[in-house]
């Protein structure tokens, strides 16, 4: 939590990160950093499940007590380190050991904080959440917890991603990994990782399958976004001015206006995809609308495949059809893309029936003719086609007013658990190898194990620095 501490661990290779990250006043980048450690622990082990959905005062109290103890312990350790630091700087072994302990403890603490705060979130007001100063303060720890509540529950993850990020490229990748994951709606988290030595593991361990379904183990991982998350228009938010974007690329373009550091090719590059995604469990999604066949409670539940599916399904099935075709003024859609697809063909149906119905495809017309007695195809010259002047009207159609971005976002965060994909592993696998090869972090990384990344970063400060909008932005990306 001490920044000085981090610098010590950070060492040379980490400097880059720091420049972009913790020291950087532009939070967009700095924000990302803290999640590196978070994700990397996933790679480690441990299968503690923290039920964070239940709001239980007793549990809460237990948790807080535990956190208190833990903080005290860490404080002690660090104090000794500070004391010893001046006297025996060369005793690397001891230092490493202590670092390890601190590392582990901090990880444990944060997980605990997150889970505890996460369960509190539903009662939080959006306004209060959002009105928090975006600048970093140690006292925003609560925020950190709540904001990162999309991390929580744990299951299994491979060991591979313990490496810290250090180069801008890696950083970029991470950034992407994070935003992607968050955007994927990262809410209901089944996979979060907790250190083994955490004493509370047992207590926190709950049912990983929150949906109560008897899924065959390892078949897929079920996530459910809440209504507000699904309907949020933006998923990417500028950490400086708060402007929302549907696409990460657009945000990156936007960021250029905030300074030269965002103009570097690395900062503008598309975060590369990463190969380790295969190791993850297949993800499937549930519609939050109870009674829907896509809802996990439905008897014949059929999961949705992607976040996009969830969004489109929810809008199509459970929302009002607010977009009307400007040409025919009859067809209505709830998904903008559907309207646009329709408008491409509207009025241009060249397959006409004698009854006046038009079809875009011949087989559809013939099926219609076959069905209705007396109907016959109309030859093109028989009936004039829809006047082409209507075409000009397309595109005048605007999207309806967007959601006030401020409100929904934080709220949604609270109620739902987040997906871990953003923090995953994906973005990290590739870069971790790079780092390994450089050898800069060599001993550090290996000795510290899963949590090293975390300690390697200016964790506390960066966490606190996180503006809530960022999470919103990350999440809304999924809507695009």
């Amino acid at each position: 939590m001490d920044r000085g501490q981090n610098h010590i661990h950070g060492q040379s290779a980490a400097n880059l990160c720091y420049q972009f990250g913790s020291d950087n006043p532009l939070l967009g980048m700095g924000i990302q950093q803290p999640f590196v450690p978070f994700t990397s622990p996933f790679g480690a082990s441990s299968s503690t499940n923290i039920p964070h959905m239940d709001w239980n005062p007793a549990t809460m109290l237990d948790n807080l007590t535990f956190i208190e103890d833990k903080i005290r312990q860490v404080k002690d350790v660090i104090r000794t380190m500070v004391d010893n630091g001046g006297q025996l700087p060369c005793r690397q072994g001891d230092l490493t050991q202590q670092q390890q302990v601190v590392n582990a403890d901090l990880t444990c603490l944060i997980v605990q904080l997150i889970s505890t705060a996460g369960s509190l979130l539903p009662s939080l007001k959006n306004s209060s959440f959002l009105s928090h100063p975006p600048a970093g303060h140690m006292d925003t720890v609560n925020h950190v917890g709540s904001s990162s509540s999309f991390i929580p529950n744990v299951t299994t993850i491979s060991e591979e991603n313990k490496e810290d990020m250090c180069s801008p490229e890696d950083y970029e990748e991470l950034f992407k990994g994070f935003t992607d994951g968050a955007m994927e709606g990262g809410i209901e988290i089944d996979n979060v990782f907790v250190e083994e030595q955490d004493a509370k593991d047992g207590d926190e361990g709950g049912d990983a399958s929150m949906d109560g379904e008897n899924l065959p183990p390892g078949s897929y991982e079920l996530l459910q976004l809440e209504k507000d998350e699904i309907l949020a228009p933006h998923t990417h938010f500028c950490s400086i001015c708060g402007k929302g974007f549907k696409r990460d690329a657009n945000l990156r373009m936007h960021m250029r206006g905030h300074g030269d550091e965002y103009k570097s090719p690395a900062a503008l590059a598309k975060p590369p995809r990463d190969a380790s995604a295969e190791h993850e469990l297949v993800k499937r999604y549930s519609c939050p609308f109870v009674g829907c066949k896509r809802n996990k409670l439905h008897k014949n539940f059929q999961p949705l495949k992607t976040i996009l599916c969830v969004k489109n399904h929810y809008k199509r099935s459970h929302c009002e059809k607010s977009y009307t075709c400007s040409r025919c003024h009859t067809k209505k859609f709830s998904v903008m893309a559907d309207l646009k697809t329709h408008e491409k063909h509207c009025g241009r149906d060249k397959w006409l029936c004698s009854c006046g119905t038009s079809f875009s495809r011949k087989d559809k017309l013939f099926a219609h003719v076959a069905l209705f007695q007396g109907h016959t195809p109309a030859l093109p010259a028989d009936e004039p086609k829809n006047s082409s002047d209507q075409i000009s009207r397309v595109g005048s159609h605007q999207e309806p007013a967007k959601f006030p971005s401020s409100m929904s976002s934080s709220f949604m965060w609270g109620t739902s658990s987040s997906d871990d994909r953003g923090l995953d592993i994906k973005g990290l696998a590739g870069c971790s190898e790079d780092i390994l090869s450089t050898g800069n972090f060599g001993s550090f990384n290996f000795s510290f194990g899963p949590a090293d990344g975390f300690t390697g970063e200016p964790s506390g400060s960066t966490f606190s620095v996180l503006p809530p909008e960022h999470f919103q932005s990350a999440q809304k990306k999924g809507k695009n």
Partner: protein
Amino acid sequence: MSREGQKLDYAAAGGNGAGGVGIGVLSLDLLGQVLDRLREPRDRKACRLVSRAFERAEATHRRALRVLRREPLPRLLRAFPSLERLDLSACASLDDASLSAAIAAAGAGGLAGLRRVCLARASGVGWRGLEALVAACPRLEAVDLSHCVGAGDREVAALAAAAGLRELRLDKCLAVTDMGLAKVVVGCPRLEKLSVKWCREISDIGIDLLAKKCPELRSLNISYLKVGNGSLRSISTLEKLEELAMVGCSCIDDEGLELLSKGSDSLQSVDVSRCDHVTYQGLASLIDGRKFLQKLHVADCLHEIGQRFVSKLATLKETLTALKLDGLEVSDSLLQAIGEGCNKLVEIGLSKCSGVTDEGISSLVARCTDLRTIDLTCCNLITNNALDSIADNCKMLECLRLESCSLINEKGLERIANCSPNLKEIDLTDCGVNDAALQHLAKCSELRTLKLGLCSSISDKGIAFISSNCGKLVELDLYRCNSITDDGLAALVNGCKKIKLLNLCYCNKITDSGLGHLGSLEELTNLELRCLVRITGIGISSIATGCKSLIELDLKRCYSVDDAGLGALARNAFNLRQLTISYCQVTGLGLCHLLSSLRCLQDIKMVHLSWVSIEGFEIALRAACGRLKKLKMLNGLKTVLSPELLQMLHACGCRIRWVDKPLVYKDC
């Protein structure tokens, strides 16, 4: 003129002369009955011309009419109010305007009884004419629009207004698509026979709708369509389908046939010739489901035949009457198996089948004694022995095709002639037979068609034998029988007066005097005189004046035929529809005269008319513009003829074939 015609003629003439006695006292009904019994149109015409009573009787009684020119059409439609069948396929320069005008002239109810209309090759008729026709004929049942290559959806849509339509032929109406077909099937739900052969735009979707909307369909021809197995699935739902032809449907395979086999049992005839992807397996499964199959045409689509197919064929023992296996490699055992399995066969086609031997034929005909038609074209292994066994077993034989079976000779044909009194058609092209063979064949007094092409040893003597007894001969092919002279033709016309089709190409000993003999063949319609270098305008004149029925004449490479000959044609051959005058020694004047006079001429081939100037072509074509439907000319003329003329020809529905052949004179 037939004997009964002569009698009636005599009576009618007498009746008129005697002032009301005779024919005139008979009622129109009775006269109508009399006319119905006259088989030859010429006899009826004679009666009509001689007696007013007959004319009146015919006017009220006539059911069928074939019109050759458009000018008299309105008058004819008025004159025959009870027409049921109208054939306009040969009506030159018929177009929308003239057809509509004629229909209007016939007046309301004038065509009320019309049931069948043939408009084949009437490429000038469009949807307006068809709309008028359909509106005027409420009882229309059958329309033939085949080979109207310009006809498309609009034309077919016009026909769709005829709700009672039962038969429709749209062969080679190239522009007809699924939409047109859909129009028809919705408009004419009682359709029983439909042919959409060569309508390449029609797809599975259209056929599917057809199957849904026309449950009465009994006969369907989808040959050369780009349809796949999906169509067969739809077709298999037709409960009453009896006949299905799908020649050259390369998208159809065994799977489709299997689908078809699941349909109703009504199917009696299937033609899958040239369907490249059909194998014996598919046919076996088809047969499996169709116990009542009568005709199976599998020409040029099978490469081998498996045991399964043969054993399935045997299940059709009681029903199968026609089997065509053209182009297949057959063995003696297969023919034997067919003979044992299908002994009700009436027709067998083994054209171009390799491996057909005397033994195979013997074992086939030994069981199939009902065979009437045997096609052994190009089965060049067979000898007189095969003919002997055919003669011994197939007493009902009517048609025997032996083209290119060069091992046979007069001995085998003697047996055939002796044992097959019903023989009506025999093809001996390229068999090298001689006069002795013809002497034997002359015993077949029922012979209608005789093909002797490339049998150069046949002489006038052989022709004389034929002429002596085969008075019913209708078609005679003497292609390259170059021993035949004018005397042979004299003998021929002496006995065979009914000849309609005569091929004398390359019989280059024939001169004008021979053609003079041919002039007495009044019924001759098709005459081919290609490369008869000795004939001149004089011979052509005698043909033109004598052969009044001439429809098609080929004078290619008759180098000595000149303007005089064409002039005679122009003056006399009013029915001439197709003419080839390539290499003839005609000038622009003769051509102009010809083309402006022959009002039925629709198809003319005039390549290498070296004496005709560009202006000559221009004027001649302008004179014939509205009538021509097919034209073959040298490619060089394409650029020098005026574009307006070419546009006009095109607008009138004329297709021009530009050829680029070198000018080569040959003498054989």
